[in-house]
Each structure stands twice: as structure tokens, then as C-alpha cells.
């Protein structure tokens, strides 16, 4: 069962060199309140796992601008010049991962799998140095699970059993990241009574959730 905490308490759990999977897509569905608290903490040398690097002033871009990120696994950085600059200067180590592969590698960790075989990236630099495995006559790249210490995600509503629902395209990577944290911290707009969420409608069951805090954006 989850515990209710503050954003400051959440940020304090995350330590230098923590591996942090962060939900959101181009900052939509990003846990901005938690990110702001991590920025306020100033914790450095983070490894982040994100779909996109967002913008300088929104989403995980704020962590990059504040020089708190040492390395990242990310699929798209086109909206954030600061992350490209830090990559080019060698300040940040970046592994660029195709978006679908990233989602499967994160899901694999959350689901206790060691990895998946995907055709995505065959014949490209993404395959460099990776094992190819042939199944039924087709080649696949062995892509290993991406471990994370923390998942910080954003949901719309939680009930008091920790069950989560999301809002529209703000769902994106959040349910996948939620599965993958050894510790999963969720920022929500609202916490409702048990029974207010239809059991059929729940996207992330409370079993994946360790901590919940209220968004300052809500």
C-alpha cells in the first residue's frame, strides 16, 4: 500500500547516481511538481530514462538545464538544445533508444524480464555491439531490460487503494514507467475515495505504487 508524501520528501529519496524513469511525453503527463522539487534539491549525477528531453523550462528539461543529469536513455531530443549541447560537450552520456524499444525495455524491467527481441534498429547503428538472434528465419536485436531505482510519474486520479487513471494523451509512458521503478512515486491531481474509480477502468493497479503526492499544478 502506498504512503502519502510531499514533493520534498520524494525529491529527498532520490540520491546522486539514482536511476530515475520519468513519465511524460514532450512534458505532457510529466510529474512537474516532483521535477521542481528535485531541481530545488539540486541532486546531481542522475541517470534518467525518458521518452523525450522535453523543453528547457518544462518537464525533464529543467533537470538538464540545472546540470543534474549525468546520463540518459532517451529517444528524442529535438525540442531541447541544452541536452544536445551537454551531449556534444561530453557533460552528459546519452544512449539514444528507439521509442518502442525504450518502452519494451522499461516494461521488461517492470515485468521481471531480462529483455526482448525486436526487429527495430536492424541494419542501423542501434544494432551496433548488440547480439542478433534469429527466430523462425528472422533476425532480431536482443535489447536488455533497463533497470531503474525510481519511477516518477504523473496520473490524473488515484484512489485510496493507490489505483491510478490517466487523462487523454497524458497517459503515454506513465503506466509503463509506473511498473518499472523499484520505488514508484506518483504525482496526481486528485485522490478520491476507494470505490470512486470503476475497477474496470483502472489503468495502473495500486500494487505498482509506493508513494503518492498531490500535484501543485492541479
Amino acid at each position: 500500500m502506498y504512503k502519502l508524501i510531499t514533493a520534498e520528501e520524494a525529491a529527498a529519496m532520490i540520491r546522486p547516481h539514482s536511476r530515475v524513469a520519468i513519465g511524460g511525453f514532450l512534458a505532457v503527463g510529466a510529474p512537474e511538481t516532483i521535477i521542481d522539487a528535485i531541481v530545488a534539491c539540486g541532486t546531481k549525477d542522475l541517470h534518467i530514462i525518458v521518452i523525450a528531453s522535453d523543453w528547457e523550462k518544462r518537464g525533464i528539461g529543467k533537470l538538464v538545464v540545472n546540470h543534474q543529469v549525468k546520463s540518459a536513455q532517451v529517444s528524442h531530443m529535438g525540442t531541447n538544445k541544452e541536452i544536445q549541447a551537454q551531449m556534444n560537450s561530453g557533460e552528459m552520456a546519452i544512449e539514444i533508444v528507439p521509442q518502442g524499444t525504450l518502452m519494451e525495455r522499461v516494461r521488461a524491467f517492470g515485468a521481471g524480464l531480462g529483455g526482448v527481441l525486436t526487429p527495430t534498429g536492424l541494419g542501423t547503428v542501434v544494432a551496433d555491439g548488440k547480439q542478433l538472434i534469429n527466430v523462425d528465419g528472422k533476425d532480431y536485436i536482443l535489447e536488455t531490460a533497463i533497470p531503474s531505482d525510481f519511477a516518477i510519474i504523473r496520473a490524473w486520479k488515484a484512489d485510496k487503494a493507490g489505483n491510478l487513471i490517466y487523462r487523454k494523451t497524458a497517459r503515454n509512458s506513465n503506466p509503463i514507467m509506473a511498473m518499472a521503478g523499484k520505488t514508484t512515486i506518483v504525482e496526481v491531481d486528485e485522490i478520491v475515495e476507494i470505490g470512486e474509480l470503476d475497477p474496470e477502468q483502472i489503468v495502473t493497479p495500486g500494487v505498482f505504487v509506493n508513494y503518492i503526492l498531490l500535484s501543485k499544478e492541479a
Partner: protein, 215 residues
């Protein structure tokens, strides 16, 4: 097994379950634990076909055809329940998100190996979700009668039946005793009323470590 023995084992399992734990109870004896959760302790039960928050059996006549547990028995949903597909259900199990699984056994051994899914040449029902449960749950409890119906030990030096998983059992709860798997070996932790340490040793093939409080 006599009802009082079942209740005794169920009550002992229940002591292992902490407030807020997510728990999967195997078919048969393990489900007895649900009847013995202490007042004030809230445990959330999973059914691996795709549900969290399993409630008690429905009153006769109120069964819902779409509400069954992994054993095929009718169930109800508690407030705060959720439904999900079987892949998500096993992501919960395999991914280490489940605090406790309790299963029956044909054999269990002093290395924490468990055999509970087939008897070659006799019965091959299949492992269902058992291999994933034993591989993935944070704590694996075996609940069973101490000996088989012919009085032969089921707690062995080494399992002879095909394994369900290797080295994953952490606790064995039987009608005679409670035994814990430790890095040093299998430790006899409790002896049930009506039995002596010597009774347990005699009914067990595995080598037992007897701690000072039982000597």
C-alpha cells in the same frame, strides 16, 4: 486433512501477512489463510487470471459468471479492486511486485527447491501460474501437510519430482512445524502443539537445523 489442521495451518500462514501486503494464495489449503487475517490487518489478494482485491466467496445464488479466481471458484470484488489482463497480472508476479505467494507442494527440499506441478507418468496438469509465482514473488511460502498420505516425508534432502522453481522457497508451514530456509540450511522454527522436535525430525528427510530455543 481434518478441518482443525487446515484452520491451524491457515492461521499460521495469516501471521506471515502484514498490513498492506499484496498476496497470491494458491488453490486449496493456502486459501484457508484468508479466513484468519487478524482484525486491523488489510491484505490485498490477487487472482492471477487478472484481478487485485479479491473478496470472499459470494452468497449462494449471487454468483457472477464472470467472477472467478485462478482455481475456477466464484469470487467477489472488494472496494478498491481492479481488473487487468493476464499479461499485466504476470508482470505483477514476475516483476517482484507481489509481497507473498503461498502454494501447496508435492515435495520441497532443503535447498528451497519446490516440486508441485507434475508426477511423471501419472499426472501432468501443467504448472499454470505456479512457476511464475515461485520465481517472482518476494516471499514464497509453502503450505502443506508435513507427510504424504502414506506417511512419507515431503520435505526432502533433494526433490525427486520435476521442479517448479529452484531455490525460491523461504518458509514451509505444515501441520507439524514451521521451517525456514536460511543460507545455513533448513531451520526448524516452530513445532506444533502435540508434536516433539523428534517427531518432526522423524517425519522429515531433509537435514534440519535445530535452534537453541527448541533444544
Amino acid at each position: 486433512m481434518a478441518m482443525d489442521k487446515r484452520a491451524q495451518i491457515g492461521a499460521r500462514i495469516a501471521q506471515e501477512l502484514k498490513d498492506g501486503d499484496y498476496v497470491n494464495l494458491g488453490i486449496g489449503l493456502p486459501t484457508e489463510a484468508a479466513n484468519h487475517i487478524p482484525e486491523g490487518v488489510h491484505v490485498i489478494f490477487q487472482s492471477e487470471n487478472g484481478m487485485m482485491g479479491v473478496g470472499p466467496s459470494p452468497e449462494p445464488g449471487t454468483e457472477d459468471k464472470d467472477m472467478i479466481n485462478a482455481g475456477g471458484g466464484f469470487i467477489t470484488a472488494l472496494q478498491g479492486a481492479s481488473f487487468f489482463d493476464s499479461a499485466t497480472s504476470f508482470a505483477i508476479i514476475r516483476g517482484g511486485h507481489l509481497d507473498v505467494t503461498v502454494l501447496g507442494a508435492l515435495q520441497v527440499d532443503q535447498e528451497g527447491n519446490l516440486a508441485n506441478w507434475m508426477i511423471p507418468g501419472k499426472l501432468i496438469p501443467g504448472m499454470g501460474g505456479a512457476m511464475d509465482l515461485v520465481t517472482g514473488a518476494k516471499k514464497v511460502i509453502v503450505a502443506m501437510e508435513h507427510c504424504d498420505k502414506n506417511g512419507n516425508p515431503k520435505i526432502l534432502k533433494k526433490c525427486t519430482l520435476p521442479l517448479t522453481a529452484k531455490g525460491r522457497v523461504s518458509l514451509i508451514i505444515t501441520d507439524m512445524a514451521v521451517l525456514e530456509l536460511t543460507p545455513q540450511g533448513l531451520v526448524l522454527q516452530e513445532v506444533s502443539e502435540g508434536y516433539t522436535v523428534e517427531d518432526v525430525i522423524k517425519a522429515t528427510e531433509a537435514e534440519l537445523i535445530i535452534p537453541s530455543h527448541l533444544r
